[in-house]
Amino acid sequence: MMLDWLFASPADRRLLPGGRFAGATPWLIGIMMFVMMVVAATGLALAGGARLVREGVAHRYSIQIADGRSSEARAVAAARSVPGVTRAVAVPEAELRETLEQWLGPVAAGEGANLPLPALIDVELAPGANPDAVASAVKRVVPSAQFIADQARLAPMLGTLNALTAIAALIVLLIALATAAAVVLATRGALDTHRGTIDVLHGIGATDLQVTRLFQRKIALDALIGGTSGALVAAIVLLLVAGGSLGAVGDWTQGSLLRWSDLLLLAALPLLAAILATVVARSTVLAALRAQL
């Protein structure tokens, strides 16, 4: 069995004394895992937010007519005449003024206010419909109309969300590298501590793999226990601190910021960290042993 080494005999376990959480390694890995989980969950939520926004506006467009309402009805009719247009509705002027009032104050409010407003038409296309055909049809009847994809309007915000997601992924990678470096140091420390035992084992004919198994088992268990504990604490903290706000954002975007696959990835992080720590510990021990006779 590939994982036989994880289930050492009592005699093998006695060779490297020290109970669970006896050294700094499980604590170190636990703290690293806590930070990694928080950053990873944040990154996945940001990516989820960007995805929901992108999906929400994927087939939505706006027609703006700068010179007023007179041509609004013709533009709506032209848009509706194109196959694949599922919705083309003029936004009432009152609604536009109400929106602007939040930013510009009473000067924008009420019918007949002095502030001139463009006509605005919301357009939704069926998947696969050709937006250029809609733009052409509208421009034929209203040459001054502008046909704008909502996605283009939101591009700066989506770009920021994507950049933040990439930064979160980079931080997770850096934490993984720091964890690997910490495991190398911890393994070298353990090798120094147990140098006498290793010399005796080598002297009586133990192979490098037999010696390595002792250390990789210890590090793997330390990493698994430390990593799982750190991940559990991170999950509790995330639920307590950010659970409410994540839910609110999810409601606003009509979807869940974290998908099942994201939650599975987060749940797998402690296991991945334990595998990383085990591989690193194994290579470190083998490299150190090969330097001896």
Partner: protein, 217 residues
């Protein structure tokens, strides 16, 4: 430092390695139990040239060698039982096949009632007996012992010598480094390897060219 040594150990023979302190006895023993490679020259064990053997081949040969270190080198956090059992466990013997021989060996060296004691709680003599029991438990083909009676009283020294000669009669080649002339005198049939300033004293050439019947490979 050892210089220009040229000798062969006869299979199943009993050797005492003597010489003043600093003559190179420990260095020679290290070469014999494969803890060190010669900087030049050649070394063969059990009919195999091992001077440049890949290190992953060495464990198999080390399992055929028992070593009693001068400083015992017991694992401090393991019991006497576990220390003696180490060679069997390293050789992947089933746990059921370990218990009996280890208890028997501990009884033989007079430590049956100290099986669960850890080295720091044992006297020097007791630690030495544990070290000897560990060296012989796997019935090695070559036993190398560095001052194995250095920390025990005369009665125990006699008993240890008896154990070594009994093992030798079963076919194990024994090399014992010692200053104890009484030990040498009490072992008829043994041969002497004497080192001085890293050189082998072999005026008759018997060590370099032993009788053919004694030489393995």
């Amino acid at each position: 430092m050892l210089r220009d040594l040229d000798f062969r150990l006869g299979a199943g023979q009993f050797y005492f390695l003597t010489g003043p302190s600093g003559a190179g006895k420990t260095s020679l023993l290290k070469l014999l139990y494969l803890a060190q490679r010669p900087t030049r020259g050649r070394i063969s064990l059990f009919g195999t040239e091992l001077t440049d053997a890949p290190r992953d081949q060495l464990p198999d040969f080390r399992r055929r060698i028992g070593v009693v270190f001068q400083d015992f080198r017991l694992v401090r956090h393991l019991s006497a039982f576990d220390n003696v059992a180490l060679p069997l466990r390293v050789a992947d013997h089933a746990e059921a096949d370990v218990e009996g021989p280890v208890r028997e060996m501990l009884a033989w060296v007079g430590l049956a009632d100290r099986a669960s004691a850890k080295p720091p709680t044992l006297s020097g003599g007791e630690q030495q007996r544990v070290a000897i029991a560990r060296a012989v438990i796997a019935r090695p083909e070559l036993l190398v012992a560095d001052e194995p009676t250095g920390n025990v009283d005369a009665a125990m020294a006699k008993r240890i010598l008896h154990l070594l000669t009994a093992l030798n009669r079963l076919g194990t080649t024994v090399v014992v480094a010692t200053h104890d002339l009484g030990l040498i005198a009490a072992t008829p049939g043994s041969q002497l390897i004497r080192l001085e300033n890293g050189n082998l004293v072999d005026p008759t050439g018997a060590l370099r060219n032993p009788p053919a019947s004694m030489v393995r490979a």
